[in-house]
Symmetry: D2
Subunit: 344 residues, 4 copies
């Protein structure tokens, strides 16, 4: 397989390189850019010396059309123009941005404050939540890779909502992310001296992942709901932990919630159900494609606390993108992704 | 004033020393310990050379009885035996542990798993949430200084509950703390290589601060409620951010919530109401006795998000203890505490 | 005293505010800026709400001339033009930048790559290494506050060089700094995700503090030497630790080195000589104006290891600047600076 | 290949598992322990669920004798007794501790303060600095895997010393390590709240890696020297950066130093010579087996600054151990180790 990565200088792109380097089915990786044509990639990223000593190439649709897969890890608002001309031209297209996730262009424009992708492309795109959509992914040309927060939230909630074990009318999702989620562009918020030793809330009630989560709950769990969702910045580089609170429906027990999750993900290599409430932490999954999930019911309130962790750059971005590529090419989902989490 | 600190080697004790050193009404500070009598304090804590070069003294009730104030920053389960003999013997007693906070000994024994303090002492103790209990504090002999999480949570919720602006029946509190909250005793959880670059949930639905929060809501807001409360560990040393979700009661607006908070704390020097939703962060209050509070209502769900930040070791422990001492001695509350937060 | 701060938005400026807020002789603090006239300072820095709710003022030399002290914490290359017109107009001038430190304009232009300040101003300026130059500081109008690295290095080396206890011909200085030393302007190097969990060397053999150190050794220890000096970036916000290696001169013992340091700084409240080799760490001095120094001689090589720590923003910048102001106004050096280090 | 790991619960052991999991020649990995027989490994380390769900086994020499390779990642003082009975019994033995590194038992006892391994075993052991000793490693039964600091230091210095380009009589080595180097056992020094935001020097002139470095310089560069060596603790988990200062010998240029390093390591896949002085940082090698080296000569002093970085747990421990195993089994050195560094 011949793989092209557009937007390789972003953190999503760097993680794609990290995993594709050890992917047994990938023979060639080329890197494309809008602005630094000819620059040797490893001269920008010293950790890639001897690994990616190739020049960045100009984005050219005729050239890209000859690849088996094209990953776009460009920002939202860019891929909406970049990928549509390539649809049907040959390559499988996997977009890591938010541009093709929302089916409703009005919703996109409201939450992203940018012009939506062409309506036809939005219709063609397939939501790449691998564990829940693999049939459609297998046949898709254009994949909208899920957002980092939605991945963590949906994997933990969808089974419980679909099986009608928790009340969809009071879903409170309190999410926390490492700072790499903000990308590689320096800003005051991500300036070390101001982000270090600091914990903050941001985009209160206005995060663009809200409609993505609601849309996926509607499609995969067949429930229409309006969620409460807030995001916080953790002084660490990688990792998302999402804590969701929901009333348990009458007569439902903690054991049933656990069983539902276990049954749902029994055959899925990257989702692990945790039962020891003292051991859910982002370092369980750091650097890996795992999503670990824990659920507890508070007998005092009969409310469930549902917690999930992922590495935002892996299962929340590049790892799931490669998992989707594996599905598209009928490879085992773990190909190139079977790595041990870092822990330390 | 002559001040004694029992348990000075803990982080609460160290912060007491940091602030009392610059307290204009304090003339003498002596440090007491159960196990290291005679050891020069600054030989254990190099940052205190030239500041606290005094020997640790043996705990002796006759000696302690001669002080104007005795702070106890010993662990829960210790002060319950240490302080009762001193009640009425002269000194004002301020306990930073959880031993005198819960009025119901059964509740203490359930949540703490330890033997409760004598019933009489529990009755005598006054809950030291300064902004809400200053009259009782002024006359108290034995003060139960609030827990770190309850301080952050109660200051933000009490006005809104008392004025019946939010629904007390669905309070979801998602709290996050820096690691100093775990104290100075090394453990696997607080081992740098395992705590760094890691975010985790702990004590799910079982934190001992739950009954403390519920009791204070009952007493100060006159509402009986059962809360959902969870705690997380943030890879930083200082700071607590608590995010509370609650339905807004019918007809109530965000402006009313903000106004209620502003009115409540108008005359209180250490509570600041924040209106810019992009600026609530623990580094706003780092090293200081401030509690900053922000409230937003999500018009999609009509639920309020109420966020507060404190420095867990200051407003959440030593700072509030000194604020209470100031109230007891009719000093301005800011005496010795009027410091600028660190930010960086 | 009426104090003006030009460049208040930088980290040096923020630290000046933090300390001057509690300075007993300072009655008024006004903040000046080149670009944000009228902006309420605390609207930019939320931690200063209720503390610095004043508007930023336009830089106006006639206005500044009416202050007792003007601190400039603007970048190098700016103060060289800003301060000279104010010399002799009334205020004491204290510059935190590098613009007035090097007496030789050619050297400045070589190491800083910028135009030097007017020669007359360079001649008038007094180097503000308080412990070594207080007589001149007392009478000075224009003070060049020392750089952060030079402060840590010089305080530890000058006594030993002046007393001819170590060999000046092979001084190897390996310095490490927290990231706040890079200032408040975001960059790729200081972007959290790339600075966190990373340790790097920078400006190899080319740091602009090299000539400053050599000049001060020449002036205060009467030795001309060419040093080896390198700097590293530590993934923390505050703190400098400088490790210097030097051969001990024949017949000199470790005890003599220690005694020399102790004698030199006996009367100086902010320099502490440490003798326990296990306890020198930047958290001993965090947030304070202390400089802690430790010296050990390796009997295998007869070389001394001389280590010093400071908080780069305090003793390395704002703290020493206020210490110099105190000297100029015949106040005790500790006025406003007598704070307990943070440790945690 | 069938691999046994004794002391799997340490950080070295965990890293062995991380890499061996993806080693194409390894079919079976079993974990041995002195104290927790029968415990399911992943119940202790949640990140290893589905990866290492095997029980810890009792250490039994007869069982271990049936393995192809036995890695010992037990502490110094333990392997000296554990491994000798296995020598010649079948398995290749690779010791990650310091017990078999020093040929002179007296030196071991002086620097480690423990009883040395049997003299015969010390004689049989081969120092596993792969790039410099691969012939002996290939034939060895018992490998003493190098220490983390020595690996970083020796790889950078040996070529320059062997080719007589730098002066061996004034080697000053200033080394800095992430905190994982202290192992997995909690202590006050590694307690998060005291290690975070703190930089310190430790074991001044007394680190047990000093004789190891001197011995290796003598053997591989044929120079007897007494080094100055100090170590510092960096508030991060992984990574070592060692900065060495040495006078350049007369007539030698920076270009010659660079060329010497490049020539030496031309054929070695894990050593990269860096020429851009702005890009040497521990995040270049994080999570990988690379050692990156940079040398600069200061024309003012004619002294070389030689800097190298490794991941202390990989090239400084488990990675190099596997690299040695690869050499012993005539596999390409990169087998199982060809991973992309993390950078972020």
């Amino acid at each position: 397989m011949k793989v092209g990565i557009v937007g390789a200088t972003g953190y999503g792109g760097l993680e794609l390189i990290r995993f594709l380097h050890n992917h047994s089915a990938v023979e060639q990786i080329e890197l494309f850019t809008s602005s630094e044509e000819g620059v040797i990639f490893s001269s920008k990223f010293g950790h890639l010396v001897q690994i990616a000593d190739t020049p960045l190439q100009k984005i050219d649709h005729d050239v890209l059309a000859q690849y088996d897969v094209v990953f776009a890890s460009t920002p939202s608002g860019v891929t909406s123009e970049l990928l549509p001309p390539l649809v049907g031209k040959g390559p499988k297209l996997i977009d890591l941005s938010g541009d093709f996730r929302l089916k409703d262009p009005t919703s996109y424009e409201t939450w992203y404050g940018k012009k939506a992708a062409p309506f036809t492309s939005l219709q063609q795109s397939v939501y790449g939540l691998t564990e829940w959509n693999s049939e459609a992914i297998r046949q898709a040309t254009l994949i909208a890779n899920p957002g980092c927060y939605p991945t963590a939230v949906l994997l933990s909630l969808l089974p419980l909502l679909k099986e009608q074990l928790i009340d969809p009318n009071f879903l409170v999702i309190d999410a926390k992310s490492g700072i790499s989620g903000a990308g590689n562009k320096p800003s005051q918020t991500t300036h070390f001296s101001e982000a270090n030793e600091n914990f903050s809330i941001y985009k209160m009630n206005t995060h663009q992942h809200i409609p993505e989560i609601e849309q996926a709950i509607s499609i995969f769990a067949h429930v229409d709901t309006t969620i409460t969702f807030n995001t916080h910045l953790v002084p660490m580089t990688r990792g998302i932990l999402a804590t969701t609170y929901a009333p348990v429906l009458p007569g439902i027990t903690e054991a049933q919630l656990v069983a539902c999750l276990q049954t749902t993900y029994e055959k899925h290599p990257f989702v692990r159900i945790v039962t020891d409430s003292n051991s859910l932490a982002t370092n369980r999954v750091k650097g890996s494609n795992y999503c670990d999930i824990l659920v507890k019911v508070d007998s005092r309130t009969n409310r469930a606390t549902i917690v999930s962790v992922i590495d935002n750059l892996v299962k929340g971005a590049a790892g799931q993108a490669i998992q989707n590529m594996n599905v598209q090419f009928d490879l085992p989902q773990t190909t190139g992704l079977d790595v041990v989490p870092f822990f330390i």
